[in-house]
Symmetry: C2
Amino acid sequence: KIKIMSVVNQKGGVGKTTTTVNLGTALAAIDKNILLIDLDPQGNLSTGIGITEKQRKISVYDLITDDITINNTIINTKIPNLKIIPSNLNLSGIEFELASDEERANKLNSKINNLDQYFDFVLIDCPPSLGILTVNSLVASNSVLVPLQCEFYALEGLAQLLRTVEKVKDNLNSSLNLEGIILTMFDSRNRLSEDVVNDAREHLGDKVFKTIIPRNVRLSEAPSHQLPAIIYDQACAGSKAYIDLAKELINRLKI
Amino acid sequence: KIKIMSVVNQKGGVGKTTTTVNLGTALAAIDKNILLIDLDPQGNLSTGIGITEKQRKISVYDLITDDITINNTIINTKIPNLKIIPSNLNLSGIEFELASDEERANKLNSKINNLDQYFDFVLIDCPPSLGILTVNSLVASNSVLVPLQCEFYALEGLAQLLRTVEKVKDNLNSSLNLEGIILTMFDSRNRLSEDVVNDAREHLGDKVFKTIIPRNVRLSEAPSHQLPAIIYDQACAGSKAYIDLAKELINRLKI
Ligand SMILES: Nc1ncnc2c1ncn2[C@@H]1O[C@H](COP(=O)(O)OP(=O)(O)OP(=O)(O)O)[C@@H](O)[C@H]1O
Ligand SMILES: Nc1ncnc2c1ncn2[C@@H]1O[C@H](COP(=O)(O)OP(=O)(O)OP(=O)(O)O)[C@@H](O)[C@H]1O
Ligand SMILES: [Mg+2]
Ligand SMILES: [Mg+2]
C-alpha cells in the first residue's frame, strides 16, 4: 500500500522543505520509489531538488485547477528513483480561486488515485499555514510527518496543528494518521533545544522519532548548489541524520 | 504623522516576530509611543511580549470581524510606551470567513484610522503567507519592513514579495512604501550568509539597512521567559543589533 505523507507545520522555517528533500532522497537511495509534491507557492522544494524554471511550466497548480491527470505532471529529477510534481508562482492565488468551490478540499485527493506508476512513498511539502493547500494535502494523505524545530515559538503551534489533523481525520479523511514528530535544528550549545526535546518526548512519547536532526550548516548550503545535502555532502552530520531517519521510518513501517 | 509598518515576508521563520518584538521594544526605550499588532494566528508576538491567555480574550480577530473600535482592543504590556493588540486562535479561520466579503482587504484599515491616542509607530507582525491577513496589513500601512534571513531559500521569495507590495500600492493603497530590508540571522561561520548580504546590497542598495542582526541564541531564548531579548539580556549581540536598528530607523526618518 502506497504511503502518502504530508510534511506539515504552520510554523515557518522549521525544516519542512529540508526534511522532504533529504528524507525523500535517503529513501530513494535505499531503492524505494519516491514521488515528491511541492505544494508551496515559493517552490523551495523544486529548487532544492534542482528543478529549473523551464521544467516548472506544468506544475501542481495545473493538477489542482485543470483536467490534466497526475501522470502528466510528474517529472524526473537527477536522482534515481525520485520524481517530483513541481510548483510555480501560479499557486499563490489558489486560496482565492477555490474560495467558492464546494470541492476545494478534495482537489489533490481526486487526482492522486489515478497514478499509473508505482511509488512506495509520496511526500508532500506544505506551505507554512493551515489554509486550503495544507488541507488538500491532509485530505489526500494517509500519514502525517511533523518537523518540530527545537525552539520555543515552535512548541506553541504544535497543539493547534495536532487538533487540525484530528479535525481532518474526523470530517474529511478517516484514513489519516500521525506518523510522527521529527525534531529538527537541534543545537547542543543551546539549553533550550534540550528542553524542547524533553517536552516533546514527555507529551508525545513514541510519536517522536528517536533520530534527531542537528543544526548543520551544510544542510542550508546544499540548496544553493541545487542538490539535496545527502548528495552535496553525504558525510556531514545533517545527511547522516536524515539517512538514520529514513532507516527508522522503514523499521517503524516494517516494510 | 504616524508610521504604520507591516513586518512581512511569506518565507517562514525569517525573524518577523523577533524583529517586531525587539525593534518595538527598542523604540519604546527611546521614548517613542509604540503599538504592536499581532496578525498571526499562532500568537507568537503576544507570547514574546508576555501577554497571558486570559489577556487575549479580546483580540485582533474581534477588531476585524466585529463592530468593536480599535481603542477597545488595545492593551498595556509590562513595557512602558509599548501597547499591543493581541491575537488568538480565532484568527485561523479568517481566510474562509472573509472569502465572500467584498471589503475583506480593508477590514484593518477601516478601523486603524479611529485611534484616539497618539502613537509614533504601529508595527504589524504578519503570518508567513501572502493571504488575506498580510493583505489587510499592507492596505492599513504606509510602510513595509522586510526581514530577510541570510539563507539561500529566503532569497527565492523576495522578488515575489516585492511584486506583491507594488501590486498593493498600485491597486489598494497608494501611500504604501518599502522602508527597507533587514538582514537577520547572519552567521559569520557560514560563507552563505556573506553571499546573501552581498546579493541583497547589490540588488537593493540603500533599501537594505546597514545594521545586520546576527544569529544569537539569546534572541531565541528570550521568548521562553516571556520577555523581549532587549529586556532579558540587554548586553547580548542580538539586543545591541536591534538597538542599533532602532537608531538607524529614526535617523532614516529624520524624526
Ligand atoms: N537542520 C538544519 N540545520 C541548519 N539549517 C537548516 C536545517 N534545516 C533547515 N535549515 C535551513 O533553515 C531554513 C528553514 O528551513 P526550511 O526552508 O526547510 O523550513 P520550512 O519549514 O520548509 O520553511 P517554510 O515554513 O518557509 O516553508 C532554510 O534556510 C534551511 O536551509
Ligand atoms: N537573530 C536570531 N538569532 C537566533 N535565533 C533567532 C534570531 N531571530 C529569530 N530567531 C529564532 O528563530 C525562530 C524564527 O524566528 P521568528 O519566529 O521570529 O520568525 P518569523 O518570521 O516570525 O516566523 P513565522 O514565519 O513562523 O512567523 C524563532 O525560534 C526565533 O526565536
Ligand atoms: Mg518550506
Ligand atoms: Mg512570526
